[in-house]
């Protein structure tokens, strides 16, 4: 074999791997010499946007990341927050947008695999999955193919692992036609003392690679431009990887068994940039070095060279640092689970990543610059010229429809509002026997066996708002996620987030990114929910058309007593229906404007963070006092849709009189999306207690009517505005997506 990977490289080669000239200069300065091919490849991937966050790092600094509950903030494989009793929640969200656009099933499946590894890498038992999905319009067969494939892929992988997929969100909007978004979130549970980090600790510790054999999958297309590398042409190299959930399940069980045995000093999954990132990040975090002989790495394909082995992104692999005496136990545990475990090297004190191939040094580079001292850019942010145009909205020119009952029906059947049952019935959401609020409510709730506690989980983002006003949209994404969690009775604790944007090198996109982050940061600050981690997915654009800026927020909250959880559904005829929060004449960015008037314009609804915080505190207090029968926030479709959804889910009607609310256009009253509002129902005996508490906590509180019969009626005084029986609304809402999917 000619040893291309030892030849020193030049700037042209660097450029062909995606490094820019200044980055090449920086690399020369770091090494004090020219890199060979393997070294260059390692830098090219680690200094890519995906691994180094070079265009988003500065903007991310706006996030608040600390708080008494935070045990681990950004910087590790997943964030960790304390939930009391010596327990913690480990969670993170990540995107798999590009692979899913090429091969929806496998792209989504391997996305789930990756995020699950990020969580058990920390030593935690994964207990729940969520996801946030966005596609173009379902009337297109291509979009249906993507949607069906992604959902099946998430199901295929998560169900096999036996981790319940308990929640998520799905949106359809033309901006995602060429760039679908697939974000997966995993939540794990751990006892504090078992927390493990991705650190290569202790000089002389052994590095054990376990799991799948390494193939040529996913070696960065851009970094593989040189045909001189081998006989395998780029064209034949599949861009997409096939996931093996069974292997992942074995890996998960074996790793957790080793965590319990307390023999792991540090552990890291092999995700993007494979062995290169796992080894260099583990060394960089611990301030140590590593030495590996990659000829020892078990391979699936013949004649793989060190370059390929270091850059392979084969799935379902983990790298462990363990004391030498523990190696036999580690290997025995691997064998028990039918896994290959291989001692491929050791931890050193050198600060270097030293790669050997059959004893010959093929790469030797400093770990820290490679892993964490990549280039950082401060891109230009400019408000796009169209921003002011799209926010302008002349409501006076928009007629109020005559038949508002029909409008409610259309909204309930809009795929963005309709029931997502078609999706979640494909997910095993009840395995592990802890899901006590199933998908369909504002937040999923899990009990924690052996305690009284519950966990509430939600992912949210209204990207139309972020498109119309990145700052407000970002803030609302956080507020809504927290509100959903609070509606279940849980106290919001912390967030993870996935920032899906276009190219940050375009000033208008960078503007969206920084503004959205600023808005999110303000909301996190105000609501006391710091950011513990996340992921950035940029370049979601085709031919200059970027997706709506989509900062997905994953929120975790805790209930002191899971028996006190609250759900969306009306429970009891005779219960009083009340609205918490204030209603304004706000139609900008609403689903109503889009569905009925085909407009995506206006300013999104205003958000008063102090009011939001008071509302959420009240919701938690009401739940703790067992004063609520149901709670549901007003989101897309506004008050009318919120009432209808509570009615549909409870199989009970309601008679609602809107006259206590401020007077305004009827469509705004019914379908406006004013923030910080929640429709609650409660037993008449609790009415005064709730009223007093709401008053004391400064939350506007009005009584709107009662749960009764099997018809939903909304009116103003004597005037009937909407009247429809629950069964027919339910049919529209439940059947809409299935209808699109099997025309």
């Amino acid at each position: 074999m000619t040893e291309h990977y030892l030849e020193l490289q030049d700037i042209d080669q660097a450029r062909s791997m995606g490094l820019r000239p200044p980055e090449w200069e920086r690399l020369l300065a770091v090494l004090g010499r020219r890199p060979n091919l393997t070294e260059l490849g390692m830098f090219a991937v680690m200094w890519s946007e995906h691994c180094s966050y070079k265009h988003s790092k500065t903007a991310l600094r706006q996030f608040p990341t600390g708080g008494p509950q935070v045990l681990q903030g950004p910087g590790e494989n997943a964030g960790v927050v304390d939930i009391g009793d010596g327990q913690a929640v480990v969670f993170k969200i990540e995107s798999h947008n590009h692979p899913s656009a090429i091969e929806p099933y496998q792209g989504a499946a391997t996305g789930v695999g990756g995020i699950v590894r990020d969580v058990f890498t920390m030593g935690a038992r994964p207990i729940a999955l969520l996801n946030s999905l966005r596609f173009g319009d379902l009337s297109s067969p291509k979009q249906r193919y993507l949607f069906a494939g992604v959902v099946a892929g998430i199901a295929g992988y998560g169900n096999c692992l036996g981790i319940p997929t308990v929640g998520g969100e799905v949106y359809f909007n033309d901006s995602y036609t060429n760039n679908c978004l697939v974000n997966a979130m995993c939540v794990g549970l751990i006892d504090h003392h078992l927390l493990t980090r991705g650190r290569a600790q202790g000089t002389g510790s052994r590095l054990i690679l376990i799991g799948a054999r390494t193939g040529r999958d996913g070696i960065h297309g851009a970094t593989f431009a040189s045909e001189a590398l081998g006989e395998h042409s780029v064209a034949r190299r599949p861009a997409v990887q096939v996931g093996d959930p069974f292997m992942e399940k074995l890996l998960l069980e074996a790793c957790l068994e080793l965590i319990e045995a307390k023999v792991i000093l540090g552990m890291q999954d092999l995700g993007a940039a494979g062995l290169t990132s796992a080894s260099s990040e583990m060394a960089a975090r611990a301030g140590s070095g590593v030495e590996l002989d990659v000829a020892l790495v078990p391979r699936r394909e013949k004649n793989m060279n060190p370059y390929e082995i270091m850059l392979s992104e084969s799935q379902e692999r983990m790298l462990l640092a363990v004391e030498p005496e523990q190696v036999p136990l580690v290997l025995a545990t691997c064998a028990k689970w039918g896994l290959t475990g291989t001692d491929i090297g050791q931890v050193t004190a050198s600060g270097m990543v030293k790669v050997l191939f059959n004893g010959i040094v093929v790469a030797e580079v400093p770990a820290r610059p490679l892993a964490s001292e990549g280039p950082v850019y401060h891109p230009l942010a400019t408000e796009p010229p169209w921003q002011a145009l799209v926010t302008a909205l002349n409501l006076a020119a928009i007629p109020v429809p005559e038949d508002l009952t029909a409008v409610l029906g259309r909204l309930l059947a809009s795929p963005n509002i309709a029931s997502k049952e078609w999706v979640y019935r494909q997910y095993d959401h009840s395995v592990r026997g802890d899901t006590v609020t199933l998908p369909g409510s504002d937040a999923a709730v899990l009990r924690i066996k052996g305690t009284k506690k519950g966990l509430a989980l939600s992912v949210d983002c209204n990207s139309r708002y972020t498109y119309l006003d990145p700052y407000r949209g970002g803030a609302i994404a956080v507020a809504e996620a927290a509100r959903n969690v609070a509606c279940s009775g849980a106290k919001p604790l912390a967030i993870t987030n996935c920032l899906n944007f276009g190219s940050p090198e375009r000033p208008e996109i960078y503007y969206q990114l920084t503004r959205a982050i600023a808005g999110m940061a303000a909301a996190c600050e105000a609501l006391g929910t710091p950011v513990t981690g996340g992921n950035v997915s940029l370049y979601n654009e085709t031919a200059g058309q970027a997706v709506f800026p989509t900062p997905t927020v994953g929120m975790v909250g805790v209930l002191a007593d899971v028996e006190r959880r609250v759900t969306t559904a009306f429970k009891q005829e005779g219960d009083i229906v009340c609205l918490l929060g204030s209603t304004f004449e706000e139609l900008g960015g609403s689903e109503y404007l889009k569905v009925v008037h085909n407009l995506e314009r206006g300013l999104p609804p205003a958000l008063d963070l102090a009011a939001e915080r008071r509302l959420q505190s009240l919701l938690v207090a009401l739940a703790e006092g067992a004063l609520l029968a149901s709670a549901h926030d007003c989101a897309e479709g506004g008050l009318a849709v919120a009432v209808a959804e509570s009615a549909i889910q409870g199989g009970l009607g309601a008679r609602i009189d809107l006259s206590p609310l401020a007077s305004m256009r009827k469509d705004a009253l019914l379908f406006g999306e004013s923030q910080s509002r929640v429709v609650v129902s409660l037993a008449p005996t609790h009415f005064s207690a709730v009223e007093i508490l709401a008053g004391a906590m400064g939350v506007p509180f009005v009584c709107l009517g009662r749960v009764e019969g099997d018809v939903v009626c909304l009116g103003r005084g004597q005037e009937a505005i909407i009247r429809a029986d629950v069964a027919s609304l339910a049919e529209l809402w439940r059947g809409a997506i299935a209808c699109h999917m099997s025309p």
Binding site: E103, D217, R236, P238, V240, V242, D244, Q315, G338
Partner: protein, 83 residues
């Protein structure tokens, strides 16, 4: 009428978890001689046409568009006339 026998296989280099698991299963049952297992699909599609050329053309298009996933799979097929 023609019947197409279509073989869809994973592209070389693409991981075949099924094949791996079956290989391990066969070996553990004493089939030590098993070197490699790859698992794909075998489809039989009957097309109502009298022209072999048209059948050929149709089946190729079906494979390209629906039956095989060009990102990870290859396909081949043979046609036999049926009555």
């Amino acid at each position: 009428m023609y019947k197409a026998k279509i073989y869809v296989t994973l592209k070389e280099g693409v991981l075949d978890p099924q094949g791996q698991a079956v290989r391990a299963g066969l070996i553990s049952q004493g089939f030590a001689a098993v070197e490699e297992v790859r698992i794909g699909k075998f489809m039989e599609v009957v097309v109502a046409t009298h022209s072999a050329t048209e059948a050929q053309h149709l089946v190729r298009e079906m494979c390209e568009r629906l039956l095989a996933n060009p990102v990870i799979e290859d396909y081949t097929f043979v046609l036999v006339e049926v009555v």
